[in-house]
């Protein structure tokens, strides 16, 4: 269980947003939306304990995160960053193996059992065949899945994903979203940020919208992601329509 209470976030002296109350439990998908620069990444970094909260607190499993060690946090919560090329050409398996770090003694290196866990995580996501490939030479979607596999190998019940579908083509985007849905069904708690409200409609059990230095909306996708709210947050006229199959999609409003 991950909770933010009256959280203020920011870098150094700059306050980005405040008054944020959120909660995420296992089996839930919390989707974070907001315009560029609203503070989605700052919020993630604060939730992960990578930068200190400017006010309020983040609690993980009932404990304030600043009382936890890195190892304790890593066993409870895994981070899936946006996939980028790395300086060193690790194999996919070695990269996923790094997810085992929090389960190793301080002076230990991974053993056979850790390699098995890493391979199982890759198999879970359907990319075991890539295990010995250079992680810098696979497609963007595969690399993103590889980072998800690393988070699974971490054996943490909560996953924090920073724009997992950004810069992916249609096929890879759908692939990643399908995996997120499967993870939810397996009982993981997932918080992910996106620029696409349709993804939130489709996947999220809860939605948080950050805009203008505050939590602009928080609740179920249906009640949060209204045309009115999206129009005001993004500054463009949009409306939410239902497709014949019943899915909600965001479209631009006809000009009046």
């Amino acid at each position: 269980m991950l909770e933010a209470r009256a959280l203020s976030i920011g870098y150094g002296a700059r306050l980005v947003a405040s008054g944020i109350d959120l909660a995420l439990a296992r089996g839930e998908v919390l989707c974070l939306l907001g315009p560029n620069g609203a503070g989605k990444t700052t919020l993630f970094k604060t939730l992960l304990g990578l930068i200190p909260a400017r006010g309020g607190e983040v609690r993980l499993g009932g404990q304030a995160i600043d009382t936890l060690t890195r190892t304790e946090m890593a066993r409870a919560m895994a981070y899936v960053p946006q996939a980028q090329a790395m300086e060193f050409a690790y194999t996919v398996l070695d990269l996923v193996l790094m997810g085992r770090t929090a389960h190793l003694g301080p002076f230990a290196a991974p053993r056979a059992v850790d390699r098995e866990r890493a391979r199982a995580a890759l198999a879970d996501l359907g990319i075991l065949a890539l295990a010995d490939s250079d992680a810098n030479r696979i497609s963007g979607g595969q690399r993103q899945l590889c980072l998800v596999a690393r988070a699974l190998a971490q054996d943490a019940p909560l996953l924090v994903m920073d724009e997992p579908t950004a810069s992916l083509d249609l096929g890879n985007r759908l692939l990643v979203l399908e995996r997120v849905r499967a993870l939810r069904e397996q009982g993981y708690g997932v918080v992910f940020s996106t620029h696409d409200p349709d993804q939130a409609h489709e996947l999220a059990t809860r939605v948080a919208v950050i805009a203008d230095g505050r939590l602009a909306a928080y609740g179920s996708p249906g009640e949060t992601l209204t045309g009115e709210m999206l129009s005001s947050v993004y500054g463009v006229a949009v409306m939410v329509e239902r497709t014949p199959s019943g899915r909600a999609v965001v479209v631009s409003s006809p000009r009046r």
Binding site: G49, M86, F88, A89, Y90, A102, P110
Partner: protein, 337 residues
Amino acid sequence: MNTDRTPRVALVAAALVVILAGAMLIAAMLGPYPATPGEALSAILRIGGPPHGPIDTILFQIRLPRVLAALAVGAALAAAGASYQTLFRNPLVSPDILGVSAGAGFGAVLGILLSLPVLGIQALGFATGLATVFVVYGLARALRSQNEILVLVLAGIVVGALAGAGISLVKVLADPYNQLPAITFWLLGSLSGIKPSDVQIVVPLVIVGLVPLVALRWRIGVMSLGDDEAKALGVNVRLVRGVVIVAATLITATAVSVSGVIGWIGLVVPHMARLLVGPRYDRVLPVSLLMGGAFLVLIDTVARTAARIEIPLGLLTAILGAPVFVWLLARGRRMWS
């Protein structure tokens, strides 16, 4: 590249152990008074004990200490280079990136200027090398930037340049007939003055510096993903970084204070190690140690036997290192692209 590198690592390590042993044997045999393989091997196995004849005396007093020093210095520089490259996520950094070499160089040439005994020169070089890194680290922390590594490296360049200016000043002040040649030769790198007592200081200090690097090998490798990812994976980034910087600086300063400035090893050897066993630090470190040690043992043997005068080591490593590095750049671009 589809390869499981695990069996290959063992093979590479075993081959390097054989090469290193062979290099040490050859180094022990060659010199103004050549030894047979049997004499050299028997002396290596009995080192520290009483000498059995004149060839033993030469080997114990002169040649083997020098071989051991070359082994320690080469291994130290390669290990420090591998550590800094992983820590700073940059394959182009070398052990002197934080100004260690320039700092230690300044102390040592100052020692020569002040006509200190050899041990004094080494101690002063070691002290200023360490002091330089503390100044660099303190400066980087005082500047408090978001990008800690960039500031650290820039501070290293600035302080290193300042130490370089200090070296120039010492050269200007030095007696041009006596001290200046000694300073120049020292700055080019040499193991010609090594005594058994030096080895007794250098080897333990290098080992002390290597212990935390070996112990934390996995976490140091994870640091190559960047601070945020390493923290989220459970690494105490600040602690591990501090340990790596202190340990790698200790072994670099130790090496520089006895051998002078020997470039290229810390840059090129880790690259070759990555080419052989991939980028994992827990594999690159042992391979770099063996390779750096064997390389400098061989280079130093060439330096003292190839010509009638001693060839400076820095000269030989540059002549070899520069083309090898260009070749690595051309061939191994994928290692970091």
